[in-house]
């Protein structure tokens, strides 16, 4: 069970504006989903060590260096920006 206030709070953390109607619906639906997920508590996980995981994985790293890209490629990315000034993305002021 999750309360309407909790949904409102989490949605704000996730940067999503919800309408009153959405808030009411989601509170009901998310409670149902979380209730279903509760059944994971039945599983005994006391012996699982995530550090000694079964997934054999290695970190794949690369050198942290600048890769030069052609200007056409860069402008394709910049063209997607909703707002820009010169060659910079533009945002609302924060302070």
């Amino acid at each position: 069970m999750i309360s309407k206030e909790e949904v409102k709070h989490i949605a704000k953390l996730a940067r999503i504006e919800l309408t009153e109607d959405e808030l009411v619906r989601f509170q009901k639906e998310l409670s149902l989903i979380l209730d279903y997920i509760e059944q994971l508590k039945e599983v005994d996980v006391s012996k699982v060590d995530l550090k000694k995981g079964l997934i054999k994985s290695n970190n794949v790293t690369r050198k942290d260096e600048q890769i030069k890209k052609p200007i056409e490629e860069i402008s394709l990315l910049m063209d997607l920006a909703p707002e820009k000034k010169d060659n910079y993305l533009k945002t609302k002021k924060i302070l």
């Binding site: 999750i2 909790e6 949904v7 989490i10 949605a11 704000k12 953390l13 996730a14 940067r15 999503i16 504006e17 919800l18 309408t19 959405e22 619906r25 989601f26 639906e29 998310l30 149902l32 989903i33 979380l34 279903y36 997920i37 059944q39 994971l40 508590k41 039945e42 599983v43 996980v45 699982v48 995530l50 995981g53 079964l54 997934i55 794949v60 690369r62 490629e73 394709l76 990315l77 063209d79 997607l80 920006a81 909703p82 707002e83 993305l89 945002t91 609302k92 002021k93 924060i94």
Partner: protein, 472 residues
């Protein structure tokens, strides 16, 4: 000769025999799409000009008797969460309604190099979140076998396009069942490769520890052709694996093959018609000399619950990039930066995306992290262990791909949880990172049913070859 009823293999032969040109082939398919897709809605974008131009180029190469590319004239549909340079890529979301892909996904580069022509981009559940393609912001896709039913999802547009002969094959992506379940519902073949077998560079991320690109095809033979082209290590995807791991299997006969049948997948609640057809398929393999062995995967019933913590958690972080600043929908009529975030995301995302971002944010938040996310990760390890144990005794595992055939439109949209349960037989495989293929095994009440064949890690080629015996 019906030009729109060919497999990839037949296209190659037909071009070699000069039965048709690539341009004729391309035009025939585009015409069919224009005529028939209004009722199906498989495509979100058609790349008509680009496709016709490329068709003419390939015809020229053939006429000059230069080296003909391996997949010359093969026509593809691409799920609209895979980037094709210069073409609109929406992920089925309003937030990317006007997004033009600035680069190609690696699998697109590989396919185009072999002569594949892309006809268009196909419909999907928004950001691949769903099992029916009804969560698309651009309307649902309908199942070509029965227009009152869903094609499955999230790669529903891709599966419907292949099933209705709009193209020779399609690319889909599978996170919890999104290739195999629609393949089963539409009567096509669908492969979800081993995690890391195919590069995901250029795939719009949903759940990075699960997402895989894979082919949806008319035949198992075609599935192998496409998988062999798109698989392999890619510098641009650090999770893609070394080519040496992806070796071909030398299996030539079913004789002696040990097939595991997990008891937990044959329980009450499965459609009787599905059960009967899957059992009939298993019998066929037994007659070919396979040994059938009952096995246990006791954690199966927890897989969906586990999946619906892992998936939303990763989705909530992956989708944080849609902020109304770099690209995508931006509602910037307000004064503060926070309003841009709140309003762009509030207006751009649909219900299911919002639900999952909220669940994920909740599961990862301080105070709940251990009870939800960490526990789910541990259960995931146990599910993987379940499969590893089973594979000590058997070579492959057979199950139904989905518990039912295609369901009716709107049947499950009122209750999100019911929609989640459509992934009950496909999600566990993904949590374990294993490859699985869905192959048609018959029809019940005129609706296709898929058999799922699950293999050990990197035994993709083996399950494809085993699946071929059902086709023969």
């Amino acid at each position: 000769m019906d030009l729109t009823d060919l497999t990839i293999k037949q296209v190659g032969q037909g071009l070699f025999d000069k039965n048709f040109s690539v341009l004729e082939l391309t035009k025939a398919h585009l015409e069919k799409i224009k005529k028939e897709d209004k009722g199906i809605n498989a495509f979100l974008t058609l790349c008509e000009d680009k496709a016709l131009k490329k068709a003419k180029e390939i015809d020229k190469i053939i006429a000059l008797k230069k080296k003909i590319p391996l997949l010359a004239g093969v026509l593809a549909a691409v799920k609209d969460n895979i980037l094709v340079k210069g073409i609109r890529t929406t992920a089925g979301s309003k937030i990317l309604k006007n997004y033009i892909a600035p680069y190609n996904a690696t699998c697109i580069e590989k396919l185009e190099r072999q002569g594949v022509i892309i006809l268009g981009k196909t419909n999907l559940d928004e950001f691949a979140m769903g099992a029916s393609t009804e969560n698309s912001a651009f309307g649902p896709t309908k199942n070509p076998k029965d227009l009152t039913r869903v094609p499955g999802g999230s790669s529903g547009g891709s599966a419907a396009a292949v099933a209705n002969n709009f193209c020779h094959f399609a690319l889909g992506s599978d996170t919890g069942g999104s290739i195999r379940q629609p393949a089963s519902f539409c009567g096509t073949v669908g492969l979800s490769p081993t995690y890391g077998a195919v590069s995901r560079y250029g795939l719009i991320a949903l759940t990075s520890s699960l997402d895989q690109i894979g082919p949806i095809t008319k035949t198992v033979e075609d599935c192998k052709i496409i998988f062999d082209i798109i698989k392999g290590k890619d510098e641009m995807d650090s999770t893609s694996v070394n080519d040496k791991l992806l070796v071909d299997s030398d299996i030539k006969t079913i004789k002696g093959l040990v097939i595991g049948i997990p008891k937990e997948y044959f329980v009450e609640g499965i459609d009787k018609g599905v059960l009967e057809l899957v059992k009939r398929a298993i019998n066929k393999y037994e007659k070919l000399g396979a040994k059938i062995k009952e096995i246990h995967l006791p954690l199966t019933k927890y897989a969906v619950a586990c999946y619906y913590i892992i998936n939303p958690s990763e989705a909530s972080t992956n989708l944080a990039r849609y902020d109304g600043i770099k690209y995508g929908l931006s509602q910037s009529n307000n004064k503060e930066l926070l309003d841009v975030y709140l309003d762009s995301r509030g207006a751009g995302f649909g219900d299911e995306v919002k639900r999952r971002i909220i669940i994920g944010t909740f599961a990862l938040s301080s105070g709940y992290y251990e009870a939800y996310y960490l526990r789910a990760q541990k259960v995931r390890q146990l599910i993987k262990k379940d499969f590893e144990k089973a594979f000590n005794e058997v070579d492959v595992i057979f199950t139904p791909t989905a518990p039912t055939p295609a369901f009716k439109l709107k049947e499950k949209t009122e209750n999100p949880l019911e929609m989640y349960l459509a992934d009950i037989f496909t999600a566990p495989v993904k949590l374990a990172g294993l490859p699985a293929i869905s192959v048609p095994c018959g029809e019940t009440n005129n609706l296709p049913v898929g058999l799922q064949i699950i293999g050990k890690s990197f035994k993709d080629d083996k399950i494809i070859k085993i699946a071929r015996f059902l086709e023969k």
